[in-house]
Amino acid sequence: MVATEQYVGSPVLRKEDAKLLTGQGNFVDNQSMAGMVWMALVRPPHVHATIQSIDTAAAASMPGVVGVYTAADLETAFPAALPMVWPITEDIKIPTHWPLTKDKIRFAGDAVAVVVAETREQAEDAAEMVTVSASDLPAVTDLEEAATDEVVIHEDLGTNVVVHWSHGGGGDQSVFDSAPVIVQERFTQPRLIPNAIEPRGCLAYGSPAAGEFTLVSATQIPHICRVGLSIATGVPQSKLRIIAPDVGGGFGSKLNVYAEEALALALTRSIGRPVKWIETRPENYVATIHGRGVLHDCTLAGTEDGEIQGMKFVELADMGAYFQLLTPGIPELGGWVYMGPYDTKAYWYEFKGIITNATPTDAYRGAGRPEATFVIERLVDAYARRIGMDPADVRRKNFLPPSAEAFASVMGLSIDSANYEPTFDRALELAEYDQMRKEQQARRDRGDTKQLGIGLSSYIEMCGLAPSEILGALRYVAGGWDAAEIECRPDGKVVVRTGTSPHGQGHETSWSQIVADGLGVTPDDVEVLHGDTSVSRLGMDTYGSRSASVGAEAVARALEKVRAKARTIAAHELEVAEDDLEWTDGAFRVSGAPDKARTIPELAASAWHAHALPADMEPMLEGTAVWDPPNFTWPGGTHICVVEVDTETGKTDIMRYVAVDDCGNVINPMIVEGQVQGGVAQGVAEALYEEALYDESGNLMSSSMTQYLVPTAVEIPSITQDRTVTPSTTNSLGVKGIGEAGTIASPPAVVNAVIDAVSHLGVSHIDKPASPERVWRAIRDAQGGAA
């Protein structure tokens, strides 16, 4: 079929949804195999303890049990420990992280043994029968306490302070002493649990005789898993296939190479039967990575009339008990956006990574950038309060000037393009900012028990991970490129193989819109394949808002190769020079004689039967591209939240939420809107509800969804959205990325609004999440302790 519609830029319905919404998805847990056995992990009720002995005899004699294995039993299965691929400094101290711990338990959830049984129930029952005798050690989950090294968690490292990374600063550092106004604030951000709707799980199978294995895993990163699991298990990359089937969300929690994946592979290799594991939700809360968990000391230097001169941030970041794949690199990722969208002259950022007796942290939606944006935007509000200026005026005064070209930033990297003020103005307009301020004043004047607060958050983020050369300079071990293959079939259909690995982001739809426009077909004619290392051979997967700006750009580049070849065949068949052809109405047409034409489906058939191709041309109409971006992309925007706070109970209700984002050109506006909605929902959760709390002995108290407050649709406001468009200069599509924007922008917008609602009562600080009790205490304390 020949299509002439322009698909890029229109809200094409997601082709992924029909099967997902009708229960025809194919998730790991939908899959089972003949002869399959189940794996269950033994996670003893200790937080920090030296293991004396592990007794597996009772478990081994339970019905259906195939085997019970401790680290000692699997000594030869793992030639290397689990991979950490971002040793960000030369002198970083790296805790050894085996799939099963050997001598010590270092956090609640650290597994000491694995049971394999015929059924899942038998495996769980037997896991309960493994007894561990261990002597408890004092546990530390508090960052500052861990940093004192009173309790050292990895004795061989000699300290919990395992890494110290400094950006090194930009601009004149003396402003931090000499500026007329110096604002200093300390902000803590709790640990968060990512809560993908589908927990982790995997199914490993293969042929020990051939040494070939396949792992089906709920992962965001099949290609990176192949490399990491090859290192951990010794299965060569050439004999290891990773399949990410339908994956029910990740938010960074599946951007990892996990112990259970390595164990399932090692066990299928030794047992010779397919091995399956499905994580339970309580297990997910302790054994899947957490996010955030940071403490910042912040300084803003400025003038009395609102000009920001310097911004300085010193951070302690909770690494947890071990490093996972990227753990120490996450704070550093934020280290490039601590200036926000502001034209500060001086810049400083450094952090120390601290080992604690808690679940390892790693990338959680936004990864480093929400942490940064939260403290910047809280600090700017504190500055505005100090000098008595409207926080909107302070922001407007300090935005970086607009630029359609890339320009150097004070933090040392180059920003692809920028235009923050129109985005900001549109947000103020949609929020009816001036009217809200009047309403706020009226309520203050009448001493209402329901006070109004307005919170602003202007942000910039660094997306499109990443230019390989810069990654190398930052000591990341892999590259940041991505790849695509396009194959035009003789029936007019098109197969695209992408190196990105969508798990909710709608790449099948967006990528097919790009290809449809380039080939004059419809998105339904295009099949986008992904998530299987034997199908999409090359790729670096999906995270860090990279898929459109790196992966879709690779598709666009492969598309150009296909079109060039198609044009050559068309010129040959129509017996004209290539220059005499125009691409109009979905076909190559002879200039001046538009009826003489060839469509891509026609040319695909010619290239397939190959009966009469130009001399020396290879058959098949196909193209491949591997693309390494020259720069990151830098989306930005402004979010505004209006809340009502009950001053008697401290409870917050969101009245209005406005998000105006600039993610460059938009491929599918409906998908972009959905990404912002989901991102804001997660950010509202972070601002008002979610917090992983540990008790004094290091046990996770927020151990289920009853105590860890994931908000529901009832708590999430409807969001008014708009966009401005400042195309990226990094890629030909002009796209910047939108997957994390909502999560980055929203927490400070909401918390700033809550503080604003009660600031006239003397409140200037409330920690995140701004729970009713925290707000109530802040008001009470500000009023001198009287309730």
Binding site: E121, E128, S704, T712
Partner: protein, 273 residues
């Protein structure tokens, strides 16, 4: 998340249920399962036998009984919420049921299960205490007895209900005056962090509290103050007298005490106009 192994039996009648319950050491009644199954999945409860009463046909009803309304123990929260009779003559019961959990919970959970479970954070128990409801209980050998709500709740998850007894009917008095059930929680789906039920009774009000102790509590200090002529603002200052609220991830005991005072005042203002 995988319960320990258990046996399952479906009861055909109340007597059959009692017989089945008597036949095992550690049997439990299964009604809607929305309190029991979560406990079993985390293995906090490991009953050897589940006696499923949910198919006993004649235990789901709402009907008038003189100046009372009788509610069958198996009536789902959804049906309680949507009963026109309750909406007219005991609206606090219907309204409270409509705010338990989420639609899924309300379509499966039962009023009898809610009350028998004796969770101090449950909403229905508090409303029953404020109303002075009566509970009908069947025991072995055809024996039956009736217990007042105020005597039924004995401690944390402890009720005046033996292991081989079945709660069959809940009887609530008709009300004609003002009423209010205020539920303070972080998320709409959550149990009450603090809840307050107030029902007008001859010019004064009966007041009971959710999650302010080990059982639903009568706010005796408030009732006494009101009887002595105090206005809601003054009376509500005594809301937490005799209470022993928990401290947990949702809020500290100190905070719950303060919230209970605010809620009692607001509930009384609604109830007494």
């Amino acid at each position: 998340m995988i319960p320990a192994a258990f046996e399952y039996a479906r009861a055909e009648s109340i007597d059959h249920a009692i017989e089945l319950l008597g036949g095992a050491d550690d049997a439990k009644i299964l009604a809607g399962g929305h309190s029991l199954l979560p406990l079993m999945k985390t293995r906090l409860a490991q009953p050897s036998l589940l006696v499923d009463i949910s198919r006993i046909g004649d235990l789901s009803y709402v009907r008038e009984d003189g100046d009372m309304v009788a509610i069958g123990a198996l009536t789902r929260h959804h049906d309680v919420a949507n009963s026109e009779l309750l909406q007219q003559v005991a609206p606090i019961v219907a309204d409270t049921a409509s705010r338990i959990g989420d639609p899924q919970v309300r379509h499966v959970g039962t009023i009898g299960g809610s009350i028998a479970h004796a969770d101090p954070a449950g909403d229905m128990g508090t409303v029953m205490v404020a109303l002075g409801a009566q509970f009908a209980i069947s025991a072995a050998a055809g024996a039956t007895r009736t217990v007042a709500a105020g005597d039924f709740f004995q401690g944390l998850f402890q009720a005046d209900l033996a292991a081989n007894e079945v709660l069959t009917e809940i009887r609530v008095p008709k009300t004609s005056g003002g009423w209010s059930y205020l539920k303070f929680n972080r998320r709409a789906i959550d149990w009450a962090m603090v809840g307050v039920a107030a029902v007008q009774q001859n010019g004064s009000a009966a007041v009971a509290l959710t999650n302010m102790g080990e059982t639903p509590l009568r706010a005796a200090g408030v009732e006494e103050a009101l009887a002595g002529g105090a206005d809601p603002a003054t009376a509500s200052a005594r809301a937490d007298e005799g209470a022993a609220p928990p401290s947990d991830a949702f809020g500290s005991a100190e905070y719950r005490r303060e919230v209970s005072k605010v809620l009692v005042r607001r509930a009384l203002e609604e109830t007494l106009g």
